[in-house]
């Protein structure tokens, strides 16, 4: 039913809109976070505690890898009253320069990671400061930070965030020349949360971190005791290179921000300097296509023209982005990671060649563990990693889960009904490495289902599936042969005795001969299967 809108009501609506406009003001990122914390993974107590640990651990691992330090990480989660926990994460990373600590951690969307394109764990500049903000929102307590860069000085900070201004609020600060030579960072905070040890839990997350980062040495001390995750390898994967964005992978808003921020003096040099795969010729071609002067300053470009420029950039043919910016774990580390946590009988891993979605390079890796002490019943365990970070929640929305259930595992030796997770004693690990992982939401728990991503994951799963099938078939063949041998062995003494009775010989040599035939799996024994052969007798 449509209500007829009278003139009177029209006036009323117009007036309300005007009032609302007057009340509108800039909402700071911190305020936005405060109101929408569920978007960032703080929607319930259990998940919030996990998110805090996860953000701090991600930062530590990123810092270590960038400084080429083999990571050593200590994690503590200790209860402090009902639904309250003290969380501490300490690393042996490069540490942080004293002055940079407040701005890096006390301000949302600040950080080195935002404008660059490089494979790293964080990419939004929310992680660490988000956790600090969550601590102050739930317990009102500041976060304490201790850091040193190995120069004999240690920085001590107590930080909070000024939500309105999105600025760090330093509660206390000390730079002590204590002469202690160490590098690393220790962050400690008190948050509201709830601790569990089931499927989507902190121990499970840390176990998966250990699998995805087998070169890291992790100690976890939780409410129920200490667990060590010793390092399984002493090599770091190669450091990923930073690349300029590819024109086909950016959005209009980002282009506008880049236009404002660039140091280039002309559009042509902006295009060649700030993007990958654009040479002088292509830059001119883009400007011509957009109908704008390639010599004008990027800052002066009209809003309408920036849109034309954006369109032209999408139209020109370009070489695909460089892929040496990616740092996959590689076959050995993948297998090492699984071997460290699972007692299985068979391991295999596959690293695909890099591919590109919307101008962003990415690479898929898959590994599998099978048999051994893995549980025979129930669905397989699926470990989802993006840039070596375990994804714990939202598995149903994730391209990885969709690819796993969309693969026919029955032909690879597992059981599966319809489009569901396969059943069998197996762990399937999928790692997506990319300079920009497309998540379905800010809480970064599910990878968006771009067709090319799904396709790559499926191809990798099929490749690993074939290896798995080969193993399972071999094992089944061996089991069948074993069963056959057992059956034969059981009847042989009777047969030998009967034959001996019929031929007036001794049974022992006959039995010996028969047993040998079975033991050596002679052709006669292996071939003797199938239905009764019917033929004409002479």
């Amino acid at each position: 039913m449509v209500r007829e809108i009278t003139g009177e009501i029209m006036d009323e609506i117009a007036k309300t809109a005007e009032d609302m406009a007057k009340e509108q003001r800039a909402v700071s990122v911190s305020e936005f976070f405060e109101k929408n914390r569920h978007l960032l993974g703080y929607d319930n107590l259990t998940r919030a505690l996990l998110t805090v640990v996860k953000e701090l651990v991600d930062n530590s691992l990123d810092a270590c890898e960038e400084a080429r330090i083999i990571p050593r990480i200590w994690i503590e989660v200790k209860p402090n009253g009902t639904d309250r926990f003290r969380v501490m994460v300490k690393d042996n990373g490069p540490g942080m320069v004293d002055k940079q600590i407040p701005t890096t951690l006390g301000k949302l969307l600040y950080g080195s990671k935002f404008f660059r394109l490089r494979q790293s764990r964080g990419q939004q500049g929310i992680g660490g400061s988000g956790a600090i903000l969550y601590a102050q929102l739930t317990t009102g307590k500041p976060t304490s930070i201790v850091s040193s860069t190995g120069n004999g000085k240690s920085s001590f900070y107590e930080l909070m965030i000024d939500v309105k201004k999105n600025e760090p609020e330093i509660i206390s600060h000390q730079l002590v020349s204590d002469g202690k030579i160490w590098h690393g960072m220790k962050i400690e905070m008190e948050v509201e949360g709830r601790y569990i040890e089931s499927k989507r839990s902190i121990p499970e997350y840390i176990k998966q971190v250990a699998i995805g980062n087998p070169y890291a040495d992790i100690t976890f001390e939780g409410p129920n005791g200490k667990v060590e995750f010793p390092r399984g390898a002493n090599i770091l994967p190669p450091l990923s290179k930073e690349i300029m964005p590819h024109p086909h992978g950016i959005e209009l808003g980002i282009l506008r921000r880049m236009l404002k921020a660039t140091k280039s003096r002309t559009i042509a040099s902006f295009l060649t300097n700030d993007f990958s795969r654009i040479g002088a010729g292509t830059a001119k071609e883009i400007c011509k296509l957009a109908g704008i002067d390639h010599k004008i300053s990027p800052q002066r470009l009209e809003v309408a023209d920036s849109e034309k420029l954006f369109r032209a950039m999408q139209k020109v043919k370009l070489v695909r982005p460089p892929t040496d910016c990616l740092s996959p774990l590689g076959k050995n580390l993948l297998i090492r990671g699984l071997q460290n946590q699972f007692k299985a009988e068979f391991f295999a891993a596959v690293t695909r060649q890099p591919e590109v979605y919307r101008g962003n390079p990415f690479q898929v890796e898959v590994a599998v563990a099978y048999g051994g002490e893995l549980p025979q019943e129930g669905s397989v365990e699926v470990i989802r990693l993006s840039n070596r970070v375990p994804l714990i929640y939202q598995e149903g929305d994730c391209a990885i889960t969709k690819s796993v259930v969309g693969t026919d595992w029955r032909r690879y030796g597992l059981t599966q009904s319809g489009r569901s997770l396969p059943v069998g004693p197996a762990v399937i690990l999928v790692h997506l490495a990319s300079v920009w992982v497309p998540f379905v939401s800010e809480s970064k728990q599910a990878i968006a289902s771009y067709p090319v991503i799904i396709k790559e994951i499926k191809l990798a799963l099929q490749e690993i599936g074939r290896q798995l099938q080969h193993h399972v078939a071999g094992k089944r063949r061996e089991e069948m042969q074993q069963r056959r041998r057992e059956i034969f062995d059981r009847y042989l003494p009777e047969v030998a005795k009967a034959v001996a009775d019929l031929t007036n010989k001794k049974p022992e040599p006959i039995l010996e001969k028969l047993k040998n035939m079975v033991k050596k799996s002679t052709k006669a024994v292996v071939d003797g299967r199938g239905k009764e052969e019917t033929g004409k007798s002479g």
């Binding site: 059956i487 009777e494 019929l502 031929t503 052969e533 007798s537």
Partner: protein, 357 residues
């Protein structure tokens, strides 16, 4: 019999030679099913075709029957050596044991060892009797006949109400005197009792035989000997249904499962005296019939296709049964009076020579 022992030994030698050559040992066994049974029009007998199957030791599905065949063969050789006989049941118990290191038995039921014995019979082309194996005693006989069996002289006319129980092996039996005009064979024990009590065999000067259901080897061989040695006509008297008629065909032509010995057991001159479905009308038995069951009808359909039931008279009876969904037991005749069978039905049939081929 030296020959039988030799054949058993040869079976062992063949298997042993395969083992020595690292070959998968096998036993060749002729197939005993309808697909390999041929009805010989000339001899009027069911005979075995030349299809055979191999039973291998190293084949998961064959290994156990292979072992069982060898066990039975070895025991049979022992019987030959010692010159003693045993029953099918005794053989089963003599061979039944638990295999070392398992909870599996060599044989679980006698129904497993019985077919293995027949396998051995057809495979070696010897008779069960020659293997010194006896079946249970089934079937009885009465009449003016004197025989000698294991040294005893037995007069079939002087055995009271029970008659003489026919042993499974009648090979060594000798006839001293046979005074009869024909042999009347019936499926049912009750009919035998009736005719015996009514002194039918004395009045009609005949020999009465009851097979007590499907005819065992002993009675079949005995009937055949009376038919061939003394040229006595044989009349078979069964229920009017597919099962009764099949009993008749087994006595006359042999059976599918024992097609290899039809020659020794079949009695091609036998004739069918009754009951037929047509008798129901002719002898006014309408009130005493039974409704045919699903299985009876199914069996009748199968028999319609058998080569040895192609005679128009039999096709007619089978079709009548299917059409009217009715059958009649020998007891139906008692519906017309207790002595109707002995005083009216059988004399009428024999007098009029109303037989089915």
């Amino acid at each position: 019999m030296v020959e039988v022992k030799k054949r058993l030994e040869n079976l062992g030698e063949d298997v042993l030679s395969d083992i020595e050559k690292n070959k998968n040992p096998d036993i060749d066994i002729p197939v005993r099913s309808l697909s390999n049974v041929i009805f010989d029009e000339k001899t009027k007998q069911l005979t075995l075709g030349d299809k055979s199957s191999k039973r291998f030791l190293f084949n998961v599905a064959h290994a156990k029957p292979f072992m069982q065949t060898m066990l039975v063969a070895a025991l049979c050789k022992e019987l030959q050596g010692q010159g003693i006989h045993t029953s099918l049941r005794d053989l089963f118990y003599a061979l039944k044991r638990t295999l070392t290191g398992s909870d599996e038995n060599t044989f679980d039921e006698q129904s497993e060892s019985d077919p293995i014995i027949v396998d051995l019979e057809v495979s070696l082309d010897v008779l069960r009797e020659q293997l010194h194996l006896n079946a249970d005693v089934r079937g009885r006989v009465v009449g003016n006949v004197v025989i000698k069996d294991r040294g005893d002289t037995i007069d079939w006319s002087k055995l009271g109400s029970g008659g003489w129980a026919i042993p499974s092996n009648v090979e060594d039996l000798t006839f001293k005197s046979v005074d009869a005009d024909y042999v009347l064979v019936m499926e049912k024990n009750a009919a035998f009792e009736r005719l015996h009590e009514d002194k039918f065999w004395q009045k009609q000067n005949c020999i009465l035989v009851t097979t007590q259901g499907q005819a065992a080897r002993g009675p079949r061989r005995l009937i055949q000997r009376l038919s061939t040695d003394y040229k006595l006509p044989v009349f078979v008297f069964t229920d009017a249904d597919s099962y009764g008629w099949y009993i008749y065909s087994v006595i006359k032509y042999g059976s599918i499962s024992l097609a290899h010995i039809s020659e020794r057991l079949g009695c091609p001159t036998a004739k069918f005296i009754g009951l037929t479905i047509s008798d129901i009308d002719e002898f006014k038995l309408q009130g005493f019939t039974i409704k045919a069951k699903e299985v009876d009808i199914k069996r009748a359909h199968e028999m319609l296709k058998y080569d040895w039931f192609q005679h128009p008279a039999w096709q007619k009876e089978l079709k009548l049964m299917i059409e009217r969904k009715v059958k009649a037991e020998l007891e139906a005749l008692s519906g017309r009076g207790l002595k109707f069978m002995t005083e009216v039905y059988l004399p009428t049939k024999i007098k009029k020579k109303e037989f089915l081929p």
